[in-house]
């Protein structure tokens, strides 16, 4: 199948790649752009490990075709820190031991950031429902929820 030329912005950088029309945005990010921080856990939009922001909307990149990213802006886990400075969510995840194997972590961080951008003061229940589309099998979610709540508090203080 002939490939399509895709021009997009990923984490602020102009990026071009050739995509087979059957390839997902996840495939393209990992295999063509070389950003393997976004993970595939299911390929069916059930686990959230491939969460990215596409034009500011939180999506499962396994449910978006690579060619759909043409002319759009993609933000991945690799773009979350500003230089050396980790995003408070990233820092709180380390401090709270909110990861064990770490495989779901990029997707959860991207999803949690999308929540806090919208709702800086979520309740525990709101965090739990927002992250219900992000599966973690190691932690039982306890420390993840605490880390997100703590990061939200820190961001509110800084605001």
């Amino acid at each position: 199948m002939s490939k399509h030329h895709v021009t997009t912005t990923v984490n602020g950088d102009a990026v071009e790649f050739l995509a087979d029309p059957r390839e997902t945005l996840l495939d393209c990010l990992r295999d063509h752009v070389g950003l393997t921080g976004t993970k595939e856990g299911c390929g069916t939009g059930d686990c959230g490990a491939c969460s990215v922001e596409l034009d500011g909307t939180l999506v499962c990149s396994c449910l978006v075709l690579g060619v759909e990213a043409n002319g759009k802006t993609v933000n991945t886990i690799e773009g979350m820190a500003s230089g050396d400075a980790l995003h408070p969510l990233q820092r709180k995840f380390i401090e709270h031991a909110a990861l064990q194997c770490g495989f779901c972590t990029p997707g959860i961080l991207v999803a949690a950031k999308a929540l806090l951008d919208k709702n800086p003061d979520p309740t525990e229940e709101e965090v739990r429902y927002w992250l219900a589309g992000n599966l973690c099998r190691c932690t039982g979610y306890d420390k993840i929820i605490r880390a997100v709540m703590d990061a939200a508090a820190e961001l509110r203080e800084a605001a």
Partner: protein, 748 residues
């Protein structure tokens, strides 16, 4: 001081520093199985059986081979013949031979220049099957008319006349069972069933394998055990183990499911056929669920005798488990663990390992123990209710203590079950009032913990920092706990130690990270390695001071004269000694390998509060408490994490998760939408209490904390639902439909 006299004053052990791999894991830099690529790499795909049981009459790969970009196709014909025992089982599971034995069984594999091409080529392979009758359920598999999965698969333990799908049989016990039951005021017997579940790690299996015509190869793979991968791949492919170098990636969860091989040998076989070009294979989620190693399912009869005061007089368990189309259901472990929390003078165990047309089971967190606990702990609770006894008091009354003979034979060393139950009794969750439709359940759980082959090296860099090479992949923070122990032992900062998980070329054989062994076994070996380096550093200092090495001791990160008679010298720090080691005798390092002795078993107890919606039968977890003996929590956050993660996996097993097969023997729920693991909105915070009864067999008292936590939730939740609804569910999972049906049955 603890009761065993171990030191309890620590500088670092018991603190909660950031994990060394944290930054990589929150920035997306950590490299997992599928993140690795090589120049010239091909992509593999696997053709899998759509039938539960069928004869393979013919495989025609010609159309696939003719497709542009296809570089290799392999079938069983490409594998060596004549394997026996578990090697044959592994080979047969890697690639079907004469028959396919379960839905998802691999039949052929392709390597091509892209994943899409490889998948297209797989669809061009034509297989002619003769479909055979199949059997899925363990009790059906031992019926007289059940399809026979493999003639002659039974081992010598199976008495004559047993159904042909029984491949292993065991019975063991002690005491006078009849007299024990006669002495009881209440004797009850019930049957319990658990369904197969999957470990559900979020990272699918992935590897890159490379093998030339010289039979030398390399592999990069997500695994709990690189030496196991090496040994098994080589057995299946007829290779020499030392010619295959296996490097573990970061691992996205395993829980026992990544201790064995699935598609890894296929990447090597394809690579060899494709002139040594590396081949990457990444499983889809459906492949993971259909064709890796879920748990066994169990059908279990338990009979218990109890006096009016709660004293247990006798117990008997007869467990039947299927572990797929191959021997290996953990029925033995389930039997060992089931009665382990109880002091019993009369006990009998009978076990059947049964074949069924399902994937070959693998380990899953305390393999067997959750099933055994579901049966035993449920019946104990039912009897407590009947006699009006407190379930915690009954567990305390019958609790095993140090020196008691376990239900399965060996005498217990230092154990902490009584301390765990005391902590449960004192916890505020037990004082929380329960409302309508709410119930509370309590259960205990047990795991042996494990030592296993262990080889560790450490060495001191010229700047006085320390590197440690271990063979146990870090799944839940073990690099942090190992760094803490080595830094504690050396008297240096935590940050000065770097622990690396190394490839098979760097150390002797290591068993995987399994059985809750990494912090215990690699930890103990790392400390013993460090002792060698300390001895050498003391010798170097003694040489410089011109005194006897015996007169030098190590304290606070420095060699020091041992007492006033040794002479007066200022302490010589690790940095000072390391800086000069080039002139004082060369590199300073330590190495230790053994089957570390002194494993300390771990008991836990959980308390769960639930509310059941009487309309829908949906069970909501209101509160959850995990209490478990860690021996010593080296990094308490990661110990809590193990407790919480284990509990939530158990909650999933209890309430949602199961392998659902259709009449056709095909798995009906091979995606996460339908195989539903717990999500954040299903759960409350998981409260934890770390009990520390130090294990005298480890320098810092470590027992191992990973396994036990998955065990108590199954029965604890069943008991809580019983209290909430009056209905006792004896068949997992306790889905809303089943709970509602049980409530209805009670009303009528």
């Amino acid at each position: 001081m603890a009761k065993d006299g171990l030191n309890t004053e620590f500088r670092l052990v018991g603190t909660r520093p950031n994990r060394p791999d944290g930054l990589d894991k929150v920035t997306g830099r950590a490299r997992y199985g599928a993140d690795f690529s090589l120049p010239g790499m091909l992509h593999g795909a696997v053709l899998r059986s759509p039938h539960a049981h069928a004869k393979i009459l013919k495989i025609d790969t010609s159309k696939a081979e003719a497709l542009d970009g296809v570089k290799a196709v392999v079938t069983r014909a490409d594998f060596p013949e004549g394997l026996e025992g578990e090697d044959w089982n592994l080979q047969e599971n890697t690639m079907a031979g004469d028959k396919v034995l379960y839905d998802g069984h691999a039949v052929a594999a392709v390597a091509a220049t892209s994943k899409l091409l490889a998948e297209e080529a797989v669809r061009l392979i034509e297989v002619e099957y003769e479909v055979l009758p199949h059997v899925i359920d363990v009790d059906d598999a031992i019926k007289p008319d059940a399809p026979v999965i493999r003639e002659g698969a039974s081992d010598a333990s199976v008495p004559e006349g047993m159904p042909p799908n029984v491949v292993r049989y065991m019975e063991f016990g002690r005491g006078d069972l009849e007299a024990g039951f006669a002495a009881a005021d209440l004797v009850r017997e019930n049957t319990y069933k658990t369904e197969a579940t999957h470990q559900g790690y979020i990272e699918p299996h992935a590897c890159v394998g490379q093998m030339g015509s010289d039979a030398k190869g390399e592999m990069w793979v997500c695994t709990q055990g690189q030496w196991f991968i090496r040994k098994m791949c080589c057995a299946v492919l007829g290779l020499e183990a030392s010619q295959l170098r296996v490097t573990p990636s970061e691992i996205g969860g395993g829980f026992g499911g990544k201790t064995t091989i699935f598609m890894e040998p296929l990447s090597l076989a394809l690579s060899r056929k494709a002139n040594g070009r590396p081949v990457k294979i990444v499983m889809s989620r459906s492949e993971v669920l259909r064709a890796t190693g879920p748990t066994a399912s169990g059908s279990m009869d338990v009979k218990i005798g109890m006096k009016k005061d709660g004293t247990l007089t006798a117990a008997r368990a007869e467990f039947r488990m299927q572990g797929g189309a191959f021997p290996g259901a953990p029925v033995d472990m389930a039997l060992y663990c089931g009665f382990a929390p109880y002091k019993l003078d009369a006990v009998e165990h009978v076990g059947y390992d049964v074949l069924a047309n399902r994937p070959k089971c693998a380990a899953y967190r305390a393999p067997g123990s959750p099933m055994g606990a579901f049966a035993v702990e449920s019946l104990i609770d039912e009897m407590c209710r009947e006699l009006g006894l407190d379930p915690v008091e009954v567990r305390m009354k019958n609790a095993v203590r140090e020196g008691d003979q376990s239900s399965y034979g060996p005498k217990f060393g230092s154990i902490g079950l009584v301390e765990v139950l005391e902590a449960v009794k004192g916890h505020s969750n037990l004082a929380e009032p329960l409302g309508p439709n709410q119930g509370r359940g309590v259960a205990s759980g047990y795991w042996f913990n494990h030592n296993g082959e262990t080889s560790v090296s450490m060495s001191i860099a010229a700047d006085g920092t320390v590197q440690v090479s271990v063979g146990t992949p870090d799944i839940g923070g073990s690099r942090a706990s190992l760094s803490l122990m080595v830094a504690e032992h050396l008297g240096i900062p935590y940050e000065d130690v770097r622990v690396n998980v190394v490839e098979t070329g760097s150390l002797g054989e290591n068993e995987p990270t399994h059985g809750s062994r990494a912090t215990f076994a690699s930890g103990k070996a790392a400390i013993l390695s460090t002792d060698q380096a300390i001895k050498e550093m003391c010798r170097r200092a003694a040489n410089e001071w011109g005194i006897d090495p015996e007169a030098v001791e190590w304290a606070d990160g420095a060699a020091q004269p041992a007492g006033p008679n040794a002479g007066k010298f200022p302490p010589m720090s690790i940095k000072e000694i390391a800086g000069k080691m080039g002139e004082t005798g060369g590199p300073i390092s330590g190495h230790h390998e053994s089957l570390p002795e002194g494993v300390g078993a771990s008991f836990g107890a959980h308390v769960v509060d639930v509310e059941v919606d009487p309309e829908t039968g949906l069970t909501k977890i209101l509160r959850y408490l995990v209490v478990q003996d860690a021996g010593r929590a080296i990094h308490p956050s990661y110990v809590e994490g193990q407790y919480q993660g284990g509990a939530v996996q158990g909650i999933g097993w209890a309430l949602n998760e199961e392998y659902i097969y259709g009449e056709d023997g095909r798995l009906q729920n091979p995606i996460f939408l339908d195989y539903r693991i717990p999500v954040a909105s299903d759960l409350p915070m998981i409260d934890t209490v770390i009990v520390e009864v130090p294990n005298p067999g480890h320098p810092y008292g470590v027992r191992g904390v990973g396994e036990t936590g998955i065990t108590p939730p199954l029965p604890a939740i069943a008991s809580a639902i019983h209290q909430a609804t009056g209905a006792r569910l004896r068949h997992l999972p306790m889905t809303p439909q089943k709970v509602r049906a049980a409530m209805k049955a009670q009303d009528s």
